[in-house]
């Protein structure tokens, strides 16, 4: 297995994904007194090219280390950030990789990656229950953290009308949290 630089990884995604890659960003930072470099790579991918991106990632390393999905409610859309770590085993050679897919609220679906990376199953179940994004083809559809008697159609991490705001108990003398 060759260890590529962040720039080479970026280029390999550009070659492999073609038009499905919307934007890329490399973030570098000095760490420690010896001025070592820490690198992270951020890729914005269209939903259509998302599975191709994950399959390409698996070409770079036998099994890329998946960390978690971080979903963000951006108002009109929902961002899903799939966090990975490439190249373990060497001092500061690893690249923190984030693949972002932006989904319009009218169509909140994303294909599963659990068939490619089985360790992603918890994060996919959590994304479904917390953000209300349907993961198509998910092998285990059940809730993970939220109990079964929690109402359907309420998603704790959403900032719109599907958020849990109506369920909050506002202590007397305090203002409730406002939302649009």
């Amino acid at each position: 297995m060759d260890i590529l630089s962040a720039r080479d990884v970026e280029q390999s995604f550009k070659d492999a994904l073609d038009g499905a890659l919307v934007a890329t960003r490399i973030y570098e930072r000095e760490v420690g007194l010896k001025k070592s470099r820490y690198t992270s790579l951020w890729l914005d991918v269209k939903r259509d090219g998302f599975r191709a991106a994950i399959l390409h990632l698996c070409q770079l390393q036998e099994m890329p280390h998946f960390t978690v999905i971080a979903p963000v409610d951006r108002g009109e859309s929902v961002d899903l950030l799939y966090h990975f770590s490439l190249y373990h085993g060497h001092h500061l050679k690893a690249i923190a990789l984030a693949i972002r897919v932006t989904l319009q609220k009218s169509q909140l679906t994303i294909p599963t990656i659990s068939d490619i990376i089985p360790g992603a199953i918890f994060a996919e179940r959590e994304t479904q229950e917390m953000m209300g994004v349907k993961v198509t083809g998910i092998p285990d559809d059940r809730r993970l953290f939220i109990p079964d008697d929690f109402p359907q159609g309420v998603y704790p991490w959403r900032r719109d009308e599907t958020g849990p705001h109506d369920m909050l108990r506002v202590l007397s003398g305090r203002q409730g949290i406002q939302h649009e």
Binding site: Y27, R29, V31, G32, L33, K34, S36, Y38, S40, E62, M63, H65, F66, T67, V68, I69, A70, P71, V72, D73, L81, H83, S85, Y87, H88, G89, H90, H91, L92, K93, A94, A96, A98, I117, P118, G119, A120, I121, F122, A123, R143, L144, F145, I146, P147, P156, W157, P164, I177
Partner: protein
């Protein structure tokens, strides 16, 4: 297993107060006699919506203290990760001395956490004298933590842009004295934990996680390293002062020559990491530069900077249980975080639990499950279902613990011929 055989299985619920770690999680075990054929993990019984509070109520400085309370054992790793993520997103610098103080506190936590775990492991197999002994040894680092930070746990050391307390010149001899104590007892401790026939008998070949499965299920920390995956955030993504210190991931073959990926290997990794932490603290004390410990001591000024911040960042640290990750996104003009996602190590390691337990006996569940050092605040009980009739029955922690102790006694008497 083919349905045509009509083998009788039983689903056994273990939890939500798990017998190994006194924290809420439920394991649903499908068993065929004594053998486990399938496992389902039911998490979520202590989900407290911490991320939601960080996104809707708290300002980032308040969220440091909230992050510190995600876990009562690793109360350094979460604030450590969180402040790094906010610093990167908002562009706040950290003085070099603060980075060294951060690392020293994090390594003291690793020593206490690994020793705590080793004691619990002893208790799980009914070896309570080992449990009491290891926990007595652990007290020294708890005393040191109190001496440095003012508290045994929930240390409140981490602040955005540095640390809240310095490690002064007059504190160094006391730290060194504690480290010398650990060095003097380390060989004895290692012998007790790794050479004892009872420990070996109950942990060798139990709860095996292959290297391939560790990679597929994205295991983290000592769980992954014991399966031969040389990953360690302190090495791979060296952060803070670790970038200067040069940490190397410890896999069990360093000591035993081979990687099995069983519970024993997970003990090997943790024992060796205690020594690694002692050395790291010594190195950090020697290399620690002079200078300030906080970029912006005035909280109001810091909050003003944070409110203007617009950006996102991800930070990872190596918690005692493995990779801990925080993602934050900040929006200018908002005093709370726009988004906060926490991925604690047990969240990842729970996915590997079924692979470890299938094929094991019920009496091996406590020690095998405990071997990932599960922390439920990071991420519930046992239910037994009869495969033939679908009947469910519950086994509580004490019954399960009694099964484990009985197995140790039985194997011990076989061993000694009494």
């Amino acid at each position: 297993m083919s349905d045509s055989i009509h083998k009788t299985t039983f689903t056994m619920p273990i939890g939500p107060i798990h017998p190994a770690i006194h924290e809420p999680i439920r394991l649903d075990l499908s068993v065929d006699g004594e053998e486990i054929v399938d496992v389902d993990v039911a998490a979520g019984q202590v989900h407290r919506g911490i991320e939601w509070i960080g996104m809707n109520r708290n300002n980032p400085v308040q969220s440091i203290y909230l992050a510190e309370r995600i876990c009562g054992i690793c109360s350094a790793c979460h604030p450590f990760t969180f402040v790094q993520a906010v610093e990167q997103a908002a562009g706040v610098d950290v003085p070099p001395r603060a980075e060294y103080v951060r690392v020293i506190v994090a390594e003291m936590e690793r020593i206490h956490s690994h020793l705590l775990w080793a004691g619990v492991a002893g208790h799980e197999i009914g070896f309570d004298s080992l449990f009491h002994l290891v926990w007595r040894v652990r007290e020294k680092v708890m005393d040191l933590t109190e001496y440095i930070t003012g508290n045994r746990n929930s240390k409140a050391m981490y602040q955005i842009g540095g640390v809240r307390r310095d490690i002064t010149e007059e504190q160094v001899p006391t730290i060194q004295k504690t480290l010398d104590y650990y060095k003097s007892v380390f060989d004895e401790l290692k012998k007790l934990l790794l050479d004892d026939p009872t420990v070996k008998m109950r942990t060798k070949g139990v709860g095996i996680l292959s290297r391939e499965d560790a990679l597929r299920f994205c295991a983290a920390g000592p769980t992954a390293r014991a399966s031969g995956v040389a990953t360690d955030v302190r090495q791979d993504h060296a952060y803070s002062a670790y970038a200067d210190l040069g940490v190397q991931a410890i896999t069990p073959d360093v000591l035993t020559g081979t990687v099995v990926g069983d519970t024993y290997d997970r003990i090997v990794v943790r024992v060796l990491e205690v020594k690694q932490s002692i050395e790291l603290i010594e190195e950090a004390l020697a290399a620690m530069p002079e200078g300030p410990i906080l970029t912006e001591p005035k909280i109001a000024k810091l909050l003003a900077v944070l409110e203007k911040a617009d950006g996102e960042a991800v930070a990872r640290t190596e918690a005692p249980r493995g990779e801990c990750m925080h993602y934050v996104r900040m929006k200018a003009g908002e005093d709370t975080l726009e988004a906060w996602k926490i991925r604690a190590p047990t969240y990842a390691n729970l996915i590997s639990v079924p692979a470890m337990l299938i094929g094991q006996q019920i009496a091996d569940v406590p020690i095998a499950f405990a071997s990932i050092d599960p922390c439920m605040s990071c991420s519930n009980r046992a239910v037994i279902v009869d495969r033939h009739s679908g009947a469910r029955s519950e086994l509580d922690g004490e019954q399960l613990h009694a099964l484990s102790v009985e197995k140790t006694r039985r194997l011990n008497s076989e061993l000694t011929g009494k």
